[in-house]
Amino acid sequence: MFLRSIFAVAASVALSAPALAQDPLPPETFGVMSAIAPGPNVIVYQESLSGPGSLVVLGADDLAMKGTMPSGSFGTMLVDPAGKVAYSLSTFLKRYAYGPMETVLQIYDVDTLTVKSEVILPPKGVMALSYAALLQQSADGKFIFAQNATPASSVTVVDLAAGAVAQEIPTPGCWGIYPATTGSSFSTICGDGSLMTYALSADGKTATETVGLDIFDPDADPVFATTARSEAGIVMVTFLGNVIIASDADGTPKKVDSFSLTEGVEGGWVPGGYNLVTYSSGLKLLFVLMHSGGYDGSHKNPSEEVWAVDLAKKAVVGRMPLAGALSITAAPGDKPVLYTLMADIKLVRHELDLAAYATKVAGELPLVDLPFLATATP
């Protein structure tokens, strides 16, 4: 738009100069754009293992580059449901590769791509690939939950109103943060097959814990740490291709449903990837990245297909070719669009034909660094 205005001015004065066919281009004023173009976005966390990562903001429909926001190393991100505030949890080292370290929560204003504020957390924040479950927000919006690993596991609770750490909750043997759909509690997945739910006090400074045992078998068929949230609860997929739904609705996590994605399916299909599962509450469909010929250690292999799953029917309702994806996220609402992050470092936008359960590539954009996590905003 800016460009057009310059050339419009130049064109409007054409032919008025005697020596040349047009007047010279007018001088410009240098400055900084105040805000990004309006509209829904896809925000991708581009992780660095050694320097600054970044959040890149793209138009949800055309993948137009709107700009970036700076982060640190080994980071992950969170975008609030409205898409207006983003967060990253990352590590800063005084000498980049060595020296004193800080775990920092950066809080961004998405419209202006600015770092609004930061909260320095206890220096034990997780330094991992960008799994969504490592940085989450309570349903009431009051608290940010950040995964720690020393390697002992704990969760730092940040009180957003206070801009300060409220408490650190030890979560021994458990991993990932799965907020409840109301209030300020969250669950976590534990290595003995249980889920543990932590309910925060109103000021966030204390928490009570409730265990739900025997939700999955961590030895025979472990669940991925990336889950989805459906109306029925926390939707987990397992290495062998089962779905387990755990409800945390009454404060005690319990298994409420489970079924196989692959029973009777030939080819050794298994789920695989990083943030490999997404649920569209508008379409009422779960999408899972799948590959064939599964073996011990293939659980992070890129996809060959994406499977659409109707949780109520406990059935795979569509299998769509989709090669090379490591992470997937659905557009919000009932927009039939999926975004995938590919093993060859790009974002692909897929339009879904729900009648035929077919996908069509409708845009792609190269990315940089390690892009494992994307969020689509309203």
């Binding site: 590769a97 020296g99 997780v126 390697p151 961590p218 073996y295």
Partner: protein, 179 residues
């Protein structure tokens, strides 16, 4: 650095520790395959993994059964996710000069194709130096588990407990027989 493995275990949570020992000693690719339904061995899976594109050789996937410690598919790397210290001035079990040895590690159980035995391998990161982009980034995940089995988790920086947490490269130290 003797006793590093005991130190590592001592620092882990009890639940994790128990799980790690059990899984490290019992899981193997064969049991998984048996569970995974129809077997398709040696398939066309050699995915390009999402790491430093400047090294097109930096791929993983498949199963590590090779004999060259400079290659991703060396048998000891069956659960290694990181850059190879063998390509960055270190060796299979020694960090490059000037780096810091990680005080904690994850473990894997890998089969040595020469003697067909399963060995416990400790994957230690070397720390405090710039990420060694000069070395190949490898990614094998046999027996790897999410962070609720922390000692088997490789998507995390195992320099986390060091004075200098910068990640440089990864070694694959033979701890002993897994049997």
């Amino acid at each position: 650095m003797t006793g590093f493995f005991d130190t590592m275990l001592a620092r882990l949570d009890r639940l994790t520790e128990t799980g790690a020992r059990r899984v490290a000693q019992t899981s193997g690719r064969r049991s998984f395959l048996a569970k995974a339904g129809t077997l398709i061995l040696g398939g066309a899976l050699a995915p390009m993994l999402p790491f430093d594109k400047s090294h097109a050789t930096g791929t993983g996937g498949g199963v590590a059964t090779g004999s060259d410690p400079l290659q991703c598919d060396y048998w000891r790397y069956c659960s290694l996710d990181g850059t190879l210290c063998t390509q960055c001035g270190g060796s299979l079990s020694m960090c490059p000069p000037g780096s810091e040895a990680s005080t904690v590690s994850w473990v894997g159980t890998c089969r040595n194709p020469d003697d067909t035995r399963d060995y416990l391998i400790s994957y230690n990161d070397c720390c405090g130096k710039t990420f060694c982009g000069n070395a190949t980034f490898c990614n094998f995940n046999e027996g790897e588990k999410p962070g609720y089995r922390m000692a088997l988790h490789n998507d995390i920086n195992w320099c986390m407990a060091n004075t200098s947490v910068g990640y440089h490269c990864t070694v694959a130290v033979l701890v002993g027989l897994a049997e």
